[in-house]
Symmetry: C2
Subunit: 446 residues, 2 copies
């Protein structure tokens, strides 16, 4: 993309309403614009990152054998009356009436609707196991929306639902989700720690939240410091193997790690040596639940078991806060100048800064770089505006592309351009084709 043809409305001033760094940077980098309290438009740069995150979530869910589908944003109130949650859910649920006076609601979560789909179409244990998931806009009418997309009202979420014949199978689905989530977050450059949590209005006994450590997190967390040394890495997991998934689950949840909701100081002191006890703040970016037959029993979601008798299915649900992840990633990865995108989610792979737009040689060198990067399947953002170099650098630093190639007449005389790493700030001078090759190699190795 050439910046002269893009829509990147960066702000020079820090918006007064933004209390945390990710909110400030998303506004300043022209990624979002609030249209109503807690409701945002995703401007092109923000939308691009949102799609990258969405694609990683899709790829990892499909890898785990989960099946994508899509439920509507609006639901009839009837199913929620059947489960008993319509009255329980309270003011966070946005309710409305259609022109015929029928009660609708904007989906905050979809256990009822997916259970209805299941009971309408599945009748035999032979069709199990089954895990369906979607990525869809949800709404929760937060009383005080704040922190930008971190606690908005309209948000983009992955929600998945497993249906299994037995508790054991459902717990395997739970473990499988845990594994797929570890992979998902690591691909985004995040360390998200599974912590024992409270199930809230979803219900059930077994639940873990995934938390990214950050000073601005809404939850206080307590954990054994050895946990932060764990890496999932590029292990080759067979998602059908109960043993392999169970082993990962035990490795990543075997140490003390809890949110304030479930924290037990006595257990913390008994299980963790003092020098490894950590208290910090965390941002919740996902949660997995096993809740057995909580929805299948009242809603009659049964299958014929091996003996021919009807059995209510064992279920769980599993969420990733897709839009919230942008905020979490920025909270975890920024500096005074702006955002520092991890390579896995960066909106553009590489920036190109032309120090002397209009100079024939500099323009030609930039065009050639731009074409070379594109020919290798990379997406560069070329700042081809007639602006001062300082302004161009400030914009590139603000929007946080991991790599920048700077092109100027002086370097070109020596046959070199400058390749700069956003994370370290380090630069090196290279012939243009070597700069391209280096950037391509970095992304190929991911």
């Amino acid at each position: 993309m050439r910046l002269s043809r893009y829509f990147l409305p960066v702000l020079k001033e820090t918006p007064a309403e933004a209390q945390i760094v990710s909110h400030r940077l998303m506004l300043r980098a022209g990624m979002i614009k609030q249209s109503a309290s807690g409701i945002y438009s995703w401007l092109p740069l923000g939308f691009k990152v949102l799609r990258k995150i969405e694609n990683i979530v899709h790829e990892e869910q499909i890898r785990a054998g989960h099946i994508p589908f899509q439920m509507p944003t609006l639901q009839s109130a009837d199913l929620w009356r059947e489960s008993g949650r319509y009255d329980d859910y309270g003011e966070e649920m946005l309710r409305m009436k259609d022109r015929h006076g029928r009660d609708l609601l904007f989906t905050p979560t979809a256990e009822e609707l997916v259970t209805d789909i299941f009971r309408s179409h599945v009748s035999s244990y032979k069709d199990l196991p089954l895990t369906l998931y979607q990525i869809q806009w949800k709404f929760r009418d937060e009383i005080r929306p704040r922190f930008g997309v971190m606690r908005g009202r309209e948000f983009y979420m992955k929600d998945g639902y497993n249906f299994d014949l037995t508790k054991e199978d459902a717990l395997h689905a739970y473990n499988r989700h845990l594994v797929s989530y570890l992979r998902t977050y690591e691909r985004m450059g995040l360390q998200a720690i599974p912590m024992r949590a409270d199930s809230g209005p979803i219900g059930g006994d077994d639940t873990h939240e995934f938390l990214v450590l950050a000073e601005t997190g809404e939850s206080e967390v307590f954990y054994d410091s050895v946990i932060t040394d764990l890496k999932f890495g590029d292990r080759d997991i067979d998602y059908d193997s109960h043993e392999q998934c169970q082993a990962v689950m035990e490795e990543f949840t075997g140490r003390y790690a809890r949110t304030d909701e479930t924290h037990d100081e006595a257990a913390f002191e008994a299980q963790v040596p003092q020098e490894r006890r950590r208290t910090a703040r965390g941002i919740e970016v996902g949660q997995i639940f096993y809740f057995g037959t909580k929805y299948s029993e009242p809603m009659g979601a049964t299958v014929q078991g091996h003996d021919g008798k009807p059995v209510p299915v064992h279920m769980g649900s599993h969420g990733i806060g897709v839009s919230r992840l942008l905020g979490a990633i920025i909270e975890a990865s920024h500096d005074d100048k702006g955002i520092i995108w991890p390579e896995g989610v960066t909106p553009f792979h590489c920036g190109i800064v032309n120090l002397k737009q209009g100079d024939e040689e500099a323009d030609a060198a930039c065009d050639a770089l731009y074409q070379s990067l594109r020919a290798l399947g990379l997406e560069p953002l070329y700042d081809d505006r007639k602006e001062r170099a300082g302004g161009k650098f400030a914009t590139m630093d603000l929007i946080g592309l991991p790599w920048r190639i700077t092109v100027g007449p002086r370097g070109l005389k020596n046959g070199v351009v400058e390749l700069t790493c956003r994370q370290t700030g380090e630069s090196e001078e290279l012939p243009p084709e070597q700069a391209v090759a280096k950037v391509a190699q970095i992304y190929a190795e991911m």
Copy 2:
């Protein structure tokens, strides 16, 4: 995908509520499930086609230089009061109050919101031209939803908005959209004819609807038969060229073609020789509008012109009914046995039917075909269930994959499998590797 691990709830019986063939076939093929009047869940097969269509729309919009972003599904009523449309829009607009009693609405279209984004961030003619688009869920509270996704209440739509300094530039944007839409529909295997139409609540003078001819279309259409001979094909258009876009516009709209809203019988008879006059029914799958300063003037969306004085921008909006397209494609492409997907949008590239599941040789041959197709970047659907051959064929015909490879012990003895075209019903016997090569070549040539 192996069918034993997929969720494809095909129905044996024709659902009584479905009045038109696309609705019947989408229900029978397990693509959608109604969750409330005019509100559908997209089951895995339906969602897969929806994503394919969405991707084609994205690719063609980006090719035309339009910039993707995303607006929320809910908007504050305030902007609609500013434009004067809040009261005008009537009962089709779904309105609600949040917990603080503030008026919200579910977006039926977004001229106001995008104009607000524009006026907040763009102030100079140097930032023009600009075209932003999104693909997002919309809601219109149809009084009598019917025909499945063809006239649902919650629907998926691409809506784009151009901002230009002059009327001439805005008309070029109009033409550019027309060209990109012609390409878009042809890639989906559809002939969509631009017809002069009525602008309705969007406003403006210039508007064309794109109609797919089908007996079940909601609009009566009148056209010169030579129009149906026009093909856009794989022309290499420079979307920046006013002349090239204008020429395509003239070629495709120069003949009489109107919907009942704008039909003029006298003009029809004067302009079209009797033997070329056609009356038919059409399904609307898109619409483009030029409406000048209808929104920019009342909302103060101005830029500094070349002379430094503020000028209200010239705008248009441009929509494609993404979810409705599934219905339109099926209306245009089906037979008694089921759907016939055009190759551009098929959910899976090729079906594999194992005539004797459990037979060692047949299973191995199917596995090898499955792996070979996947290795070539194709997505096969392998029916690996223990079902009778007749049932497997009926399912494949119903869900409409364009190509099917049938594998049985008898053929394997002679070293062949059967490759069948869904469209023509023709089959040929080939060695498995040649069948794979032929399917791969068909998709490579698209």
